[in-house]
Amino acid sequence: MGSGKGAEQRPTGRPATSAYVAGGAVLLILLAVPMLTTNYYILHIAVQMFFFGYLGQSWNIMCGYTGQLSFGHAAFFGLGAYTSTLLLLQLGLTPWVGMLIGGVLAALLGLGIGAVSFKYGARGVFFAFITMAIGEILRLLALYWDGLTNGAEGLLIPLAEQNLAMLSITRENRFSYYYIMLGMLVGCTLIAYKIKRTRFGYYLLALRENEDAAEMIGVDVFRYKLSAGAVSAFLTALAGTFYAHYYRHFEPQDVFGIPVSFNMIFPVIIGGGDYMLGPILGSIILTFFEEGSRAIMPQTMHGFHRILYGVIIVLVIIYLPNGLMELFSRRTARGRRKAPRA
């Protein structure tokens, strides 16, 4: 049993020193990339990979760890995007602060949804659809509350405003976005890691497995579910602000739409939510397919990469339900689907 003897000496779950070294090396390389190339396309792809890895990681904090799947995380994403942008446009508030405010609002929304849903015992598919409905309600509100959100036209962040706000980082220079997103990804992964190693994470795992048993050994199931939801919502909203500034224009469908929610989930399914790097791996694969198919297919043919997504998802769920990361991991993941033959 690979996980038997060697793991006895080490405290549970901590990776070997070699993993730290490898991780550090990768990080150094990533930091160096923008210095080595000025190809905006490469930087853009990298940002995509970081972006979806981040979203997957933050979604996973609530859904992977607690087992309560949310199909409406776009609600938090869009809330972040709209809040910080509106504060910027109306009040001139710097997005660095607006981002945090958006995050707090999203966390409050997450707490609200969780509190009401869990109080009434909504689980599984029911909870998933409630979250989806909330996402759609916010989208419709953004669409029809013209006075506030400019409706279907969406919001535009003018270049001048942005220079001022983001401390003269221009849009043409993908450079800084690269570092910001990389930083966010590393930060989010560290947060997820920290959670997993502490009591918080263990309690979440417990309540995912069996809520009654967890309650009986002292886990305040309600409180922990809500906490995970709030953290996840906050982090997701931050990415919404990033999106707003990266693309400088967005409409309700772009930030609140159902595809946005699904885009956060795919990396986790494909990469594997029980692994630290799973969502990142998933994100890399999905971005690869998206950009790859865009390169191969003529401009007029849309949707091809999403057909591939569908195929990959179906295949992964059937044949590798723990995610592709399982192929790379020699250690038994916490929460493997099948027990090893004893």
């Binding site: 549970t12 263990y202 795992l205 048993a213 967890a214 309600f222």
Partner: protein
């Protein structure tokens, strides 16, 4: 330590528990027996906060437990096992017990230490990193007890922990419970159907039938009690 006063619970028209009163002193082992459907697990559920009583009170060291959620009751020092075991299947044995150990500390390393100590008392101490799903039923029952013990309870409620065990395994369990009571000073409140187990472990036995207490006393007295015999076997078995 624990006192239950006039506890009642109805489900629809059926009285599952009816004006039940009992007390348990610290350091004792008290057995709860009764025919199937007598309401034993319901009593456990009422004490541990999974159900709210219609009437009556449950007090632990003077403090009322009514209205507290199960995790808070665990915080008071009461823990229980379930009749149908509920292991955290995808987690390893160590992780299962650690979750219990976390009740006493926030620190992961400390929790692991406590968990390893507790696991050391059990047979599966070599299987630390096996997922709980790979355990046999008796092992899972033991895991459940280990997990509960890791919370360092003052009062431990065991719900039919011997169901499904064979003769040898029952003997092992009896021995284990005896040692547990002596060495760690945990107070035990046990629901059991395996008679010889409860006879040999308990200091006192309470018998309930149709949700009411029909007898209470030392094991030897209970066996001879006419009402108890009638409840289990029917009137015809009473020696006239």
């Amino acid at each position: 330590m624990l006192s239950v006063e006039n506890l009642s619970k109805r489900f629809g028209g059926l009285a599952a528990v009816s004006r039940l009163s009992l007390t348990i002193e610290a350091g004792q082992a008290v057995g709860l027996i009764g025919p199937n459907g007598a309401g034993k697990t319901t009593v456990f559920n009422l004490i541990t906060g999974f159900l709210a009583p219609d009437e009556g009170d449950v007090r632990f060291n003077g403090r009322s437990l009514l209205g507290l959620k199960p995790h808070a009751i665990c915080g008071q020092g009461i823990s229980r096992t379930f009749q149908l075991v509920k292991p955290f299947l995808k987690l390893t044995i160590l992780e299962n017990v650690m979750i219990g150990a976390f009740h006493g500390t926030r620190d992961t390393a400390r929790a692991e230490k406590v968990a390893r100590e507790v696991i050391g008392l059990f047979e599966f101490r070599d299987k630390l990193h096996y997922p709980a799903a790979s355990l046999t039923l008796p092992e899972r029952k033991q895991l459940e007890i280990a997990r509960t013990l890791a919370t360092r309870p003052k009062l431990l409620l065991l719900d039919e922990s011997m169901a499904g065990l064979n003769s040898t395994e029952v003997d092992q369990m009896i021995e284990f419970l005896r040692r547990l009571k002596q060495e760690s000073g945990v107070t035990l409140f046990i629901i059991e159907h395996v008679m010889r187990a409860i006879m040999s472990v308990s200091d006192r036995i309470i018998v309930i039938h149709h949700g009411e207490k029909i007898a209470e006393g030392r094991p030897q007295e209970i066996v001879k009690n006419a009402e108890v015999i009638a409840a289990y076997l029917g009137q015809g078995y009473l020696a006239s």
